[in-house]
């Protein structure tokens, strides 16, 4: 892709300074927690440093040289991200602080008494549909909306294999549905959901549809126009970008119809003491000084990912996932929560070890081998309740991971079993 050099994981690892770091006690770092947050390449870190040290100024407001340089870098980042996700217009890319804010922004557009657009009216009798495999960030905003407005929250169940159960799609999504918000790739199961059957039904009943793409945009080519949904949320820190920046993509026509969310500088056209008019999107939704350097860093992240090629990254992760699924299933007492084959799933593998609590698994992996995995409910407690377990251990892979690291994980798990044997 892009005529880039062939995928070379050792070369890629050199771009990430932290990967050659030693942990206290001389442990090497084996970072298998990118689903939680990814590491950053020098290209991103240096772009941010350089911007802070030589080009920083506030954006939008300043006419002077630094203000122009910052504004150009900030708006240039918007162009890059629009291109990266195939947005029909750059104005559809809104910078937020994280995926959570992106989802809340959309949730707060509903049931606002000031807004008269039918599509965003929500009250008792109206329904909002999510799923049992959502991250808390795609559950709680909708719970809060339901509480504020009296609407009803409903959800798709999950099958034993960790797939979305859409058997009752036609009943769940119906004339009372205002919005359906579903995760694109589960941060626990690894499952990649196919949005098309749901979207078809959503269109039939005249509802809107949002995708939480926090775990898909970093790991596979995502084209929002191709997806065809109305809103897509994702977050910078999971895609080799900095913390403090997220993205909401939305159809311009809908963004135009939505009321403002946060009020303040930059999101206005003109202000009087008793009323205001608002700037056109995307600025309408970017109140106050935005995460300037963070957006610039995310632009550099997108450049970096593109230079490697998203198809290549996906292929590499698929290889790792296949390797890991096979190796892990040979460990006695290990139960994978989620699909056991690489079909329609990403590089996130959650599991339990019989008789050993995930906290203990994670702690020993870290203490003894420097292996960073995540343990707990991964901000998806209802999904764990569904499987009747309080917690899992999760290994998640990215472009810089190797099969040797998976071997280390397997060795580590054997040791854990010995300690608790």
């Amino acid at each position: 892709m892009n005529g880039a050099a062939p995928f070379d994981v050792e070369r890629i690892r050199k771009d990430f300074p932290i990967l050659s770091r030693e942990l206290p006690g001389g442990r090497p770092l084996v970072y298998l927690d990118s689903g939680n947050s990814s590491q950053k390449p020098t290209q991103v870190i240096e772009t941010m440093r350089e911007h802070l040290a030589q080009h920083y100024g506030n954006v939008g407001r300043a006419l002077h040289a630094l203000g122009s340089e910052s504004t150009e870098a900030y708006e240039g980042a918007r162009d890059k991200i629009a291109a990266f996700i195939g947005a029909p217009s750059r104005d559809e890319v809104i910078f937020t602080k994280n995926a959570s804010e992106s989802i809340n922004l959309v949730a707060y557009a509903f049931g606002n008494p000031v807004n008269t657009d039918e599509r965003f009216k929500v009250g008792p009798g109206d329904e909002i549909v999510i799923s049992e495999m959502e991250h808390h960030s795609n559950i709680v905003p909708w719970q809060l909306l339901a509480q504020r407005t009296g609407a009803t929250l409903r959800w798709f169940p999950v099958t034993d294999e960790g797939r979305l159960d859409i058997d009752r799609l036609d009943e769940l999504v119906n004339e009372r549905t205002k919005i359906v918000s579903i995760v694109h790739q589960s941060n626990v199961l690894g499952t990649v959901n196919s949005e098309s059957p749901i979207l078809a039904r959503v269109r039939e009943v005249g509802a809107l549809m949002m995708l939480d793409a926090s775990q898909s945009v970093p790991h596979q080519p995502v084209d929002v126009a191709e997806l065809g949904v109305d809103f897509v949320a994702f977050t910078g820190h999971k895609m080799v970008g900095p913390s403090g920046i997220g993205v909401l993509w939305g159809r311009k026509e809908l963004l135009d119809a939505m009321p403002p969310f946060l009020g303040g500088g930059e999101m206005i056209e003109a202000v009087w003491m008793d009323h205001s008019t608002y700037a056109p999107v995307p600025h309408k939704f970017e109140a106050g000084t935005p995460p300037i350097v963070e957006a610039v860093g995310l632009g550099a992240a997108v450049d970096y990912l593109t230079s490697i090629g998203m198809e290549e990254i996906k292929r590499h992760e698929k290889e790792l996932t296949g390797y890991a699924l096979e190796a892990l299933q040979e460990i006695p007492g290990l139960r994978i929560i989620g699909p056991r084959t690489v079909v329609a799933r990403g590089g996130t593998v959650s599991f339990t070890l019989e008789g050993i609590h995930p906290h203990d698994v994670g702690q020993i992996l870290d203490d003894v081998y420097g292996i960073a995995v995540r343990v707990g409910h991964h901000c998806a407690r209802p999904l764990h309740l569904r499987f009747g377990i309080p917690a899992t251990t999760r290994a998640s892979f990215y472009l810089y991971n190797t099969t040797a690291e998976i071997d280390a994980l397997v060795r580590g798990l054997h040791h854990v079993q010995k300690v608790f044997g």
Binding site: H357, H359, I364, D367, G376, H377, P390, A391, V419, F420
Partner: protein
């Protein structure tokens, strides 16, 4: 952090199981990680702790902590055990900067390493907080 003593208590919990008679029973949960403990306390004359019985599920730290607590409290007086609770809490919340008082803590000193891991401190404290709660209710 995984001291031999902790693993021993985890694999061979002392005094586990809920017993009769009891003055109070409490159920504590650590919502972030799902660790749970149910604890019963039976007090006797002169502030004697006659029995601390418990059941639960969770990580080795939370479960071993309950077992150690059973050993340290049963047979002591309420006043004595409260000073252990206080010292244990102080140790756990000390971010690894606090020197443990072995004379007061006894076997519980094995948990000192946990204090360096903020996320695990709650696991170690779960049973102890439940015990304190149960004492209050027993005496109420």
């Amino acid at each position: 952090m995984y001291q031999e003593l902790i693993l021993e208590h985890y694999k061979h919990p002392q005094g586990r199981g809920l017993r009769e008679p009891y003055d109070a029973e409490v159920h504590h949960v650590n919502p972030t990680c799902g660790d749970e403990v149910t604890m019963r306390v039976k007090l006797g004359d002169g502030g004697k702790v006659l029995d601390v019985s418990y059941d639960g599920q969770g990580c080795s730290i939370s479960q071993a902590a309950a077992s150690v607590l059973h050993e340290l409290t049963t047979g002591s007086t309420v006043a004595e055990t409260l000073s252990v609770v206080d010292e244990f809490t102080r140790l756990m919340q000390g971010r690894g900067q606090v020197e443990a008082d072995e004379d007061v803590l006894g076997d519980a000193v094995a948990f000192a390493g946990v204090a360096k891991f903020p996320a695990r401190v709650k696991c170690a404290l779960l049973a102890w907080m439940a015990y304190k709660d149960a004492l209050v209710r027993s005496q109420a």
